[in-house]
Amino acid sequence: MAGEVIYEVKNVSKRYGSVVALDGASLKLHAGEVVGLVGDNGAGKSTLVKVLSGAHQPDGGQIFLDGQEVVWDSPRKALEHGVETLYQDSGLAPHLTVSQNVFLGREIVQKGFLGWLGFLNSKRMEREAHQDLEEVGIAVPASNRAVSQLSGGQRQAVAIGRAVAWAQKVIILDEPTNHLGARQAGEVLNIIRNAKAKGLGVIFISHTLPHVLEVTDRIVVLRLGRIVRDAPTSEFNGDTLIGTITGTIQTIKVEGD
């Protein structure tokens, strides 16, 4: 089912002053695999996401993409290598239109001199944004509408659709089902399944454990900056997952290869 190892971090650590946010965390992600990343507040999830997305540089450890060691000195570099991240609650610019958001940072410019000056081909971007979103399973009203005019669920759909449409290899979703109703959350989970079917590696960070249990193939549990459990989702149920997160269930250090 799952393919090759596509993305890997080995023994990464990160400190903020005297606070150890990540303490030697290692993680593997295969193509076509959905890995759930869970942990209590302050467990280091956000820090790990930032390291994976290139927003922060780790103090120690290595990152491998397709078996090649990579160093992300900016989010842009990660994006260029096919690693997309949807940050919690900060994915879109509300004053821009749907298509402007979908293409933000990757605009299509006009041909010739005007393009050299940076003039945009808005019509083409509107058309393509619409197609891209439909392809990943989202039908958005008009791609020339401002995002601020969309409902919360629609905004989240656009944000995820954007990430999935652009992702070449890996997609990192930080709390994508937050603030969503049951039905819309279900649709988000479907989009994740689509991404998986496309052969992308998906890292799904969430506090909503039923969603994690529903959509992931494997779950990685973080506690106090360390990975305390890394096992197939089938080995967890709601109770054991909560126990592992809070530490009431003792864990052996990371399984796996």
Binding site: A93, P141, Q149, S151, E187
Partner: protein, 350 residues
């Protein structure tokens, strides 16, 4: 497995209603109506002299001297910042340019007409360079020293004013000038309320406006003000955009300094005094939000016009005499009214 039909709850009905309320909420439409009403009112209040070419020419000249500052301010305001240094940049740039031509090249006000044109061009280039430099300093303070724009530009405002006084020793530096640049165009017996200077600012405003609304640079300006985190997350260098926007703002303020030089025939350390307030007023009246992400060039051009129609209009009133000292108060009331209308409209839309 999921197709677009299944994702139907993420779809909304036709945006027609939103479009209609958008049109009614369009700042430019409101401003044009305001202008027509104001013009009619002042025409009546002045006993029929307001809508004459001379007076309109004066209004347009004021518009020209402020529009570049308003546009400069607009870009910064869209990013969610503010540039208090634009007025002092007018003073500093005109003084530096005047000092260079008068003190270094030893060319004085006796050179006029066509012969002065090369000097005027040189002055414009110097003004532009000084403005770009002030903008660079602003962006350095904001990016590198992490000072909020309000304080950073307050600092450069003070510094620019101080340096302008030091260079000029508080005296206007009178230099070469082609006064024709500021005179109204005449076609036969017919005079248009527009001068070469006003025409040039109109062209600059249009070109800059096209970049704001149609180019990648403009898009990043909006996205920065709309959501800096999303902008960074999209792989855009926020720092580089801040440098570009503040340098553009400084550069336009420098060109406004050149405008001021041509208007006065001199570089003066008081020429830009208080102009930043009018620029901010014009931007707010023109429909931009100081919270960032909102504002259009047409709105700002009209907002600036409203400002000076009101000012000149009040002075021509004969039905009721209005003291010139009142104009500051009137401008303040206009700003408050514009913001109030903005807030009302926003809450209506929800």
């Amino acid at each position: 497995m999921t197709d677009s039909k299944q994702a139907s709850s993420l779809v909304e009905k036709s945006p027609l209603k939103a479009r209609i309320s958008n049109l009614l909420g369009n700042q430019s439409v409101v401003l044009v109506i305001t202008l027509v009403v104001l013009a009619a009112f002042f025409q009546w209040g002045s006993g029929g002299i307001f809508l004459q070419t001379d007076l309109l020419g004066t209004v347009m000249d004021q518009w020209g001297s402020y529009i570049l500052l308003a546009v400069a301010q607009l870009f910064v305001v869209i990013t969610g910042g503010i540039d208090l240094s634009v007025g002092s940049t007018v003073s500093l740039s005109s003084v530096v340019a005047g000092w260079f031509v008068v003190e270094q090249l030893k060319v004085g006000p006796e050179v006029t007409g066509q012969a002065a044109l090369p000097y005027v061009l040189l002055i414009a280039v110097i003004c532009l360079a000084v403005g770009l430099f002030v903008g660079l300093v602003n962006s350095f303070l904001i990016n590198q020293l992490k000072i909020v724009p309000f304080i950073a530009t307050l600092a450069t405002m003070g510094a620019s004013n101080g340096i302008a006084v030091m260079i000029s020793v508080g005296q206007p530096l009178q230099g070469p000038n082609d006064w024709d640049l500021g005179t109204l165009w005449a076609i036969g017996d017919f005079t248009l309320p527009i001068s070469t200077m006003v025409f040039i600012t109109l062209v600059i405003t249009t070109v800059v406006g096209l970049f704001l609304h149609k180019s990648r640079f403009g898009l990043y300006t909006y996205s920065l003000g709309s959501n800096p985190f999303a902008t960074r997350g999209a792989g855009i260098s926020v720092e580089r955009q801040v440098i570009k926007v503040y340098m553009l703002s400084g550069g336009l303020a420098g060109l406004a300094g050149a405008y001021s030089y041509v208007r006065l025939g001199a570089g003066s350390n008081t020429s830009g005094m208080g102009m930043e307030l009018y620029a901010i007023a014009a931007v707010v009246i023109g429909g931009a939000s100081l919270m960032g992400g909102v504002g259009r060039i047409v709105g700002i051009a009209l907002g600036t016009l409203v400002l000076f129609v009101v000012q000149s209009g009040l002075l021509t009133m004969t039905v009721v005499q209005v003291s010139p000292d009142l104009k500051q108060v009137i401008v303040a009331i206009l700003i408050a009214a514009a913001v109030a209308v903005q807030t009302l409209r926003k809450s209506n839309r929800k």
